[in-house]
């Protein structure tokens, strides 16, 4: 027998208890909002989470430091690269390794692309739920162009596992420049259209202006971070406050709101995307020249791979053994020089005994990456706020404990307070403007 929920225990005489969720079209995931209603008015609310709990932290304790990277993709599945980035930073802090400049710049580029796509997705869903289906389609279109860049380079749209301990997996795709330019152009166009469609739209303003208002002090007390905190007027951004990667090299502003309502959260996200595009524009010229073309002309990929595996690494290799841009020639630019913590280039592993041993040592159970004993916390600015990893190492090749500090948990915890006393219809834009990603919240 289950004990009744708090909302059931405290229910008033004559009020109506209604479940919203766990499978509701407006909750973009499985979350259950229990409501105590008097007509349309919300007297009380309680949120139940855990429907998407996949034991992320327990699983990580049973995986090696290298293998658990793929699980970080599945946290905030709209911007997986930022999760990869956070994990890699925490591990680099623990291991004390430096990342080459080019890898840091690639990380900045891809993190910003992810941030824009994260915000686009959030606003698309939020606007659609308020009735603006056009905005949804426009935003999804822009996101496709940005994901083209991500897909070309990482080989996946969502499960990227691209940013690794010590650097990145491979160099950028040769066509990244044109793809990024197209993404910037299309996103700018869409942002202009969306501003025109929503900024002075009476229906949208009616649903969002002065709805879900959060005060500054209260937001800090709730542990809010990211765009939601900035909408209340506090200019806290991890990229500026605790610069990581190469963020201190770039010019960007931190947009803030005034009232802390749904409309401000929308506006902060819109203006943040413009700043992210600005950062991308500054990064792209620094990444010249692009990755050298590694596949010899006139060879089929299969033949190229075969030929490359028979060559000695002493000779200059024109073919890529894995065709992904992680060759010996580019490895020093994209991965740390510390041989203990990075995978050797495929040329070495296939053709030299030292390379093969290093490769085995890296992947053998009980060997691999073994950080010193200790604990570390490192954070990055994710799409919704501070994404922090707390890692406890006991000196073995698996983390003793890995904890994710996700930005969504404090946000969703405050939902009960934000919607109390409002109408049922106000839940939808309030929930939408917070961009709750259940994959990250439930872990």
């Amino acid at each position: 027998m289950t004990t009744p929920f708090r909302i059931q225990q405290n229910a008033r005489e004559g009020s109506l208890l209604v479940n919203m969720g766990p499978s509701h079209p407006a909750t973009h995931g499985a979350v259950r909002i229990m409501l105590e209603l008097d007509g349309e008015r919300i007297l009380n609310a309680e949120v139940e989470v855990g429907y998407l709990h996949r034991a992320f932290e327990k699983t990580c304790e049973n995986r090696t430091y290298f293998n658990l990277l793929i699980y970080t993709d599945r946290l905030n599945y709209v911007s997986p690269l930022i999760n990869n980035h956070g994990y890699a930073l925490a591990m680099e802090k623990l291991l004390g390794i430096d990342v080459p400049e080019r890898a840091r710049l690639i990380r900045v580029l891809l993190s910003e692309l992810s941030r824009v796509s994260d915000h686009l997705t959030c606003l698309a869903a939020m606007a659609m739920e308020c009735g603006a289906f056009t905005v949804f389609l426009y935003n999804m279109k822009a996101r496709e162009f940005l994901w083209d860049v991500i897909e070309q380079t990482t080989g996946a749209r969502m499960t990227t596992s691209y940013i690794r301990i010590g650097g990145v997996r491979a160099d950028l795709h040769p066509g990244y420049k044109e793809a990024t330019a197209a993404g910037l152009r299309e996103t700018r166009k869409v942002l202009k259209d969306v501003h025109g469609l929503l900024d002075k739209n009476k229906i949208f303003l009616g649903r969002t202006r002065d709805v879900g208002v959060m005060a500054k002090d209260n937001a800090l007390n709730w542990g809010w971070t990211g765009p939601a905190l900035r909408s209340t007027g506090i200019a806290y951004d991890v990229r500026r406050a605790f610069p990581y990667g190469d963020y201190d090299r770039f010019k960007f502003e931190i947009p803030v709101g005034e009232r802390g309502d749904n409309f401000d959260r929308y506006m902060v996200r819109m203006r943040e995307m413009e700043q992210s595009l600005r950062i991308i524009e500054q990064v792209v010229p620094l990444l010249e020249p692009a990755c050298p073309k590694v596949v010899a002309d006139g060879l089929e990929p299969a033949a190229a791979v075969k030929a490359s595996r028979t060559r000695r690494p002493g000779k200059p290799i024109k073919l890529s053994p894995n065709l992904e841009g992680a060759e010996l020639a580019v490895q020093s630019q994209i991965l740390s020089s510390d041989r203990r913590y990075v995978i050797p280039a495929k040329e070495e592993a296939y053709t030299s005994i030292e390379g093969l041993i290093t490769h085995f040592k890296y992947f053998m159970s009980g060997h691999g990456i073994r950080p010193p004993k200790g604990d570390v916390y490192a954070a990055v600015e994710g799409g919704n706020g501070e994404v922090g990893y707390y890692i406890v190492s006991d000196g073995t090749d698996r983390p003793y404990r890995l904890h994710l500090r996700g930005p969504c948990l404090p946000l969703l915890a405050s939902l009960e307070e934000l919607i109390r006393g409002r109408l049922v219809a106000d839940i939808i834009p309030t929930f939408g403007s917070m961009n709750i990603i259940l994959g990250e919240l439930d872990r």
């Binding site: 004990t3 855990g50 623990l94 406050a241 605790f242 604990d375 570390v376 707390y390 003793y400 404090p410």
Partner: protein, 161 residues
């Protein structure tokens, strides 16, 4: 670095006996305290000159071999000073209980429920200590080291065993 250790030393001097250890591993500020003085120190962190207005994170680590089996880890964040502070304390294995921080920070509510759910640590003074992620019928606390990794407790029985 200088400023960080000064801050920690000043804080430790204000609570003689309560602060067991101060350190700054890898550039973070860390503090180990006695469990009974948690609430007092947390209130001082929040309202004192440190101005730690945000409880950034709250979690627990299980060390089955230690006499103080559960190690609670708090991360506080000060916006005005741009500082992060890690506070740790040990709790005994049988019946681990620590003061709840819900009167000071509202998000402590859910985070403490999470730790209660996954580790079985109880929080004295918590208004609504209920499992956060697991269903209520769930037996045990999954993030404890003695909970088997592959153990399943399906709510609806599996069709194929």
């Amino acid at each position: 670095m200088e400023e960080k250790s000064d801050f920690l030393t000043a804080l430790a001097a204000r609570f003689p006996g309560a602060v067991v250890e101060t350190s700054s591993p890898l550039g973070d500020m860390a503090l180990v305290i006695r469990p009974e003085s948690l609430f007092e120190i947390a209130a001082e962190l929040k309202n004192g000159p440190g101005d730690f207005a945000t409880l950034l994170d709250l979690t627990c680590v299980d060390f089955p071999d230690r006499p103080e089996r559960f190690e609670m880890v708090y991360h506080f964040f000060s916006l005005s000073g741009l500082r992060k502070l890690r506070v740790k304390l040990g709790l005994p294995g049988p019946d681990p209980t620590v003061a709840s921080l819900t009167p000071l920070w509202k998000n402590a509510d859910w985070m403490e429920r999470e730790v209660y759910d996954l580790f079985g640590v109880k929080f004295a003074g918590h208004p609504y200590l209920r499992r956060l992620f697991m269903n209520e019928e769930f037996v045990g606390h999954p993030l404890r080291k003695d909970y088997p990794f592959r153990k399943r407790q399906p709510v609806i029985p599996m069709r194929t065993p």
